[in-house]
């Protein structure tokens, strides 16, 4: 399938992560200094040139586990710390938001506009730090350069690759249920009314031609929907009106409950990824982790705690039930941890890869060790 998914995946998922974190930082009345530092650190890591260059290389989209690991590392570039349960829930939120955007994307090419909406908002978050804004602009330019030449067919292949990646995920998100873009069964609402995508014509007409190309007959048919003409096309440049709203920040400060999630009933909560991490996947992971700058060693005294949900009670419950698949509400608990703890946490995650790496074909068990060593250095 498409070998061009990774940059868009990270920009969009990373963007959603920042929207959620921003909402929490504000809801908790975090100081402006701290908020700015967190956003700058995360954005700086995500839009780091070396990291983006790695992403831009043509390659397959691997498993959720790899993505989650890298996104965790990106989040840990700031002074916040996420325990695995928190990251799991945060990841679900991010993925469901992106799935919604990809699913409803009017034309495959509009995936770029969705990505640009994320980039535009990210730029706003870090607007007071020129160095980081520059990084964002540079990345944006590179994305424009790489993706502008793709055909609609190639974009659709990209979109199909993403849809396969998100397949069978039906986590219900409070916000989506509230604004009715998601049904109680976890599926997104698909309207049969509204403007058709740019380049498509309103359905309902049959035209017949003679052998000379002259139209000889027109007839209409009932479409079963109520469609209207397309609105104007969004701007694909560095700055401009994107027109489509998918990819913009949907979360609002005053409604923290919006980020509640729950599993749709009778859906198996299994990660579909194979237990073996393919050699290529481990290579990718190593390259990505290695390319992220390790300069952000947070000072212990500036650690602070962020709740994704407002009551301590809910947090305790979450702490108790964080492994339970039956839990109705995912409570994301973001707590500051010491450096050493953080390193241990990462090493533990990496250790999971090493343990499960059974590759009879590939006797170089060094891969897992190298990865562990690299992570300890971070």
């Amino acid at each position: 399938m498409s070998v061009r998914t990774l940059p868009l995946v990270f920009i969009n998922l990373g963007g959603e992560m920042l929207y959620i974190l921003d909402q929490r930082l504000q809801a908790q009345n975090t100081s402006e200094d701290n908020s700015e530092k967190v956003m700058n650190d995360i954005v700086g890591t995500m839009f780091n040139k070396a990291f983006m260059d790695e992403l831009l290389k043509p390659q397959q989209l691997y498993s959720h586990r790899t993505l989650k690991t890298v996104l965790t590392r990106i989040a840990h570039a700031s002074i916040m710390r996420l325990n695995p349960a928190s990251m799991d829930r945060l990841y679900e939120l991010m993925v469901m938001a992106f799935k919604y955007q990809v699913f409803l994307c009017p034309r495959p090419k509009d995936l770029l506009l969705i990505s640009y909406n994320h980039i535009d908002t990210i730029r706003e978050f870090v607007k007071d730090t020129p160095v980081v804004v520059n990084q964002v602009d540079e990345t944006h330019r590179k994305i424009i350069e790489v993706y502008s030449s793709l055909s609609e067919g190639e974009f659709q292949l990209l979109r199909q690759t993403l849809l396969i990646f998100f397949q069978d995920m039906h986590v219900r998100v409070s916000l989506f249920l509230k604004i009715q873009v998601q049904n109680p069964n976890g599926r997104f609402a698909l309207s049969t009314s509204g403007p058709v995508p740019h380049g498509t014509e309103v359905p309902g007409l049959i035209r017949t031609f003679d052998s000379k190309g002259r139209e000889v007959r027109r007839s209409e048919f009932p479409t079963g929907g109520s469609y209207s003409s397309p609105i104007r096309e969004g701007c694909f440049e560095l700055h401009g009106d994107r027109i489509i709203r998918l990819g913009l920040n949907m979360y609002t400060v005053n409604h923290p409950e919006e980020t509640h999630t729950s599993k749709a009933p009778s859906v198996k909560v299994t990660d579909d990824t194979p237990n073996l991490l393919a050699k290529e996947e481990l290579n990718l992971l190593a390259r990505l982790m290695g390319s992220m700058k390790a300069e952000n060693k947070p000072k212990a005294e500036t650690g602070f705690r962020i709740n994704l949900f407002t009551t301590d009670e809910e947090e305790e419950e979450a702490g108790a039930s964080c492994g339970a698949e039956e839990s109705l509400f995912g409570v994301i608990n973001i707590q500051a941890m010491q450096d050493e703890q953080a390193a241990t946490e990462l090493a533990r995650i990496a250790g999971q890869f090493a343990e499960q790496q059974e590759q009879p074909e590939n006797p170089s068990g060094n891969k897992g060790d190298d990865l562990l060593a690299m992570m300890d250095d971070l």
Partner: protein
């Protein structure tokens, strides 16, 4: 005109791929086989006509000598040749040909995949049986592989490589009317909307090249010398295959078309798209005026579902089946 029947549950959900439903009717055994692709697995269901027996099977894209990478499947389709029925599965790594019940793999063809991925994705997509003994499969480079299939056994050979398309093949279809008079045997479509019309033989001959308009043609059919093509813009176009004359243009759907099918005995046409709608049309030919008429007959809406496969279950179009992204069932409709 049609009403919904009991759906067939499948083991996993359908992936968002063009033409993601295969149907093979086995009249002597009063069975129909269905195939639906989910990532790297083909779900096969064998359904008895009395509705009492369903048996399931799953085929993996397990290519020999590939240890760990998963290979996503692009398409699974039945090829009904006069002497035998086969199931062809195309993926990122190659082409697998099975006996029609999926029990034995009779042939495997590996695609040339470079060591480090290039900017162009590599995969096979677009499958069609042609005339007595050919199976044609499209490649992401635009090439079409022509396989010569013996009436029995696994001695399938690559007979020819057709290099005409410059963009990835999306779909292919053989003349399905059963008429021996039609000159054109096969039509192939690509991501640029270009259509190539071929005559089969020891060396396939290109009869016509109908240029696209920079919009992917995701599904194509050939019936009584007429090409019926579905596009990403939601349009359906009917062309006379050999001359390229445009007979009709239908603003059929509000989103990308994913599947077309024709019931050859009745001239019914089925179209399905990401807009959640399946439409049934009727095609009629008037040889005197060399014209084709398209009449709209029926709509079915599969709520909140982007449809990825739709096929008639029989040559008259008495029944049809539908699959949708993220849906774990094959929805069926029968004429009232």
């Amino acid at each position: 005109m049609y009403h919904k029947e009991k759906s067939i549950q499948i083991k996993n959900s359908a992936s968002a791929l063009y033409n993601n439903l295969g149907v093979l009717r086995i009249a002597p055994r009063r069975l129909t086989y269905f195939t639906v692709v989910h990532a790297n697995v083909v779900n096969m269901v064998s359904a008895s006509w009395d509705g009492l027996n369903y048996s399931h099977r799953q085929l993996q894209s397990k290519e020999p000598n590939v240890a760990t990478s998963t290979s996503l499947i692009m398409q699974a389709a039945f090829c009904a040749l006069p002497s035998r029925d086969l199931l062809v599965v195309t993926s990122q790594k190659g082409i697998q040909i099975y006996e029609s019940d999926g029990s034995i793999m009779v042939y495997w063809h590996a695609l040339d995949t470079p060591e480090t991925p290039t900017a162009q994705a590599v995969f096979a997509r677009g499958i069609s049986a042609v005339r007595e003994n050919y199976i044609c499969v499209g490649i992401s480079s635009g090439a079409i592989l022509v396989f010569d299939v013996p009436s029995k056994g696994s001695n399938i050979t690559l007979s020819e490589v057709l290099e005409e398309h410059k963009e990835s093949i999306t779909d292919m279809a053989a003349e399905c009317s059963g008429s021996q008079e039609c000159i054109a045997d096969l039509v192939s479509a690509d991501d640029g909307g270009n259509l190539c019309v071929w005559k089969s033989g020891e060396e396939f001959q290109l009869l016509n090249n109908i240029p696209g308009f920079d919009m992917s043609c995701s599904s194509v059919k050939l019936w009584k010398g007429t090409v019926v093509a579905g596009y990403g813009t939601g349009q359906i176009r009917l062309y006379e295959a050999v001359t390229g004359i445009l007979h009709a243009e239908v603003k059929a759907h509000a989103r990308w078309i994913y599947s077309l099918d024709i019931a050859p005995f009745s001239g019914l046409l089925l179209s399905a798209a990401e807009d959640s709608l399946v439409r049934v049309w009727h095609l009629s030919m008037t040889p005197e005026t060399n014209s084709v008429e398209v009449a709209h007959l029926h709509n079915e809406c599969v709520t909140d579902t982007q449809i990825c496969g739709a096929k008639f279950c029989d040559g008259d179009g008495y029944a049809f089946a539908v699959t949708g992204y993220d849906l774990s069932e094959i929805i069926r409709y029968t004429q009232t």
